[in-house]
């Protein structure tokens, strides 16, 4: 299964990418929303994108809106992974079409359990 990790921090991409790889995903990295849209066009079978909120060029929210405006990506699950912890912000992301939301900092179990909620490779226990 293909997955995108979209974050302007290389460290964060490495951490999230490693976790997804361990969970059996083939990971494609992108540094911001615009980059991610380009990668997505090359990876049309991607089932999952982990999306940071605050990024240069195109932020996570704009990326989510762009993806949700495109029927081609209907099956793509979008999970925001962000330092934003205000409920209003979360609500905005969900209304824009995010499927799930993870607050930073997080652990491997958090990511695995969220994917379990989405019916993607979840924790076995």
């Amino acid at each position: 299964m293909d997955a995108l990790v979209i974050d302007d921090s290389r460290a964060m991409r490495t951490i999230l990418g490693g976790m997804l790889t361990d969970l059996g995903f083939r990971v494609v990295q992108a540094t911001d929303g615009r980059d991610a849209l380009a990668r997505l066009a090359e990876t049309p079978a991607a089932r999952l994108a982990l999306v940071d909120w605050n990024m240069p060029e195109m932020d996570g929210l704009a990326f989510i809106r762009a993806v949700r405006a495109d029927r081609a990506y209907e099956g793509l699950k979008l999970v925001v992974v962000s330092t934003e912890t205000e409920q209003a912000q979360m609500a905005t992301a969900l209304e824009a079409g995010a499927d799930e939301y993870v607050m930073k900092p997080f652990t491997r179990a958090v990511i695995a359990e969220k994917l379990g909620l989405l019916g993607l490779a979840g924790p076995s226990a």
């Binding site: 409920q87 995010a98 939301y101 359990e113 379990g116 909620l117 226990a125």
Partner: protein, 316 residues
């Protein structure tokens, strides 16, 4: 994983012995890292090393400190919507069937029988509030019990860390049904008021309880031997309605343990096959409200139920 550096094998054995004596839980030596992790805080709070703590419980194996050690070892792993597939089964299958069956009496009694720090009963409450608006005006009662008073206090306060709400809780529910207070999160009162807490030791005769429609008894039996499992299953069954459902953890089963349950087609869910005619000491009978009267259920003070429940059975 932690190294066993701070704790000798003998100390580990002493702690395991206390846990076994006071809670019936048999921890294996491989779990020493877990024991050490749990007990470091207890030792530190007393200004003791782990070795000194072990010495203290050895010399007073039934004392207050030993009790605290045993309790610390009970508080275990849990999370909101642990095993999401199961909660889907509850939402799509089990709860709709129970609600249909209770349409006339408009009453539903649910029991989270080893609720730990409360994520499990609040997950049930969230499910009801979010997906079953038709229960408005029903008498819905989620009883949440555990042996550990520390866990119950935490559960009743309902103040969860960011890490805890990050785990397994759908973000939509976090947004709609929780209040954020600085870095902590608390279910709103509409969720909290459905749940009340009481200390109940499942290894002892149970106190009077309402006849339950649905019992969650998850990830508690795994710690116990076959005889204990049998006893717990039988006594829990004695508190259930004749068409009630039991839900166990993913590594647990009633098979070969209690013929009074039969597995449902849905994984992890069991139906009562032979309802005992009357629960000894229960007094709840099959009547909808009888048992509920034994418990005080003021919504503002969920723990008011504790003395009433404890009356029936001594707890450790």
């Amino acid at each position: 994983m932690k190294q066993g550096g701070g704790m000798s094998a003998a100390d580990g054995a002493a702690f395991r012995e206390v846990a076994r004596e006071l809670t019936g839980i048999a921890l294996s030596p491989e779990k020493d890292y877990f024991v050490e992790g749990r007990l470091e805080a207890v030792a530190r709070a007393r200004g003791l090393s782990l070795g000194e703590l072990a010495q203290a419980v050895r010399s007073a194996p039934r004392g207050a400190l030993a009790q605290e050690v045993a309790e610390a070892l009970l508080i275990a792993e849990t999370s909101f919507f642990r095993d999401p597939g199961l909660f889907e089964v509850l939402r799509l299958q089990v709860l709709p069937e129970l609600i249909a069956a209770r349409r006339a009496e408009r009453r539903l009694a649910l029991w989270s029988a080893a609720c730990a720090t409360g994520q499990e009963p609040y997950s049930l409450a969230l499910l009801l509030v979010e997906h079953f608006p038709e229960l408005e005006g029903w008498d819905v009662d989620i009883l949440a019990t555990d042996l550990s008073q520390q866990a119950l206090d935490y559960a009743a306060s309902a103040v969860y860390t960011q890490h805890e709400v990050n785990r397994g809780l759908p973000a939509r529910l976090l947004v709609r049904h929780f209040e954020r207070e600085a870095m902590t999160w608390r279910p709103r009162s509409a969720v909290r008021r459905l749940v009340r807490f009481a200390r109940v030791d499942l290894l002892r005769p149970l106190p009077p309880l309402p006849r339950m429609d649905l019992v969650l008894l998850r990830n508690m039996l795994i710690y116990h031997d076959v005889e204990t499992k049998r006893g717990v299953l039988a006594s829990v069954r004695g508190r259930m309605r004749s068409d009630g459902r039991l839900v166990l953890g993913s590594a647990e089963t009633t098979l070969y343990l209690d013929a009074g349950f039969e597995p449902s087609p849905e994984l992890g869910v069991y139906r009562v096959k032979d309802a005992p005619s009357e629960a000894p000491g229960g007094g709840a009978g099959g009547r909808p409200d009888a048992g509920a009267e034994a418990l005080d259920r003021g919504p503002s003070a969920p723990r008011e139920g504790v003395p009433a429940v404890d009356r029936g059975a001594p707890c450790i």
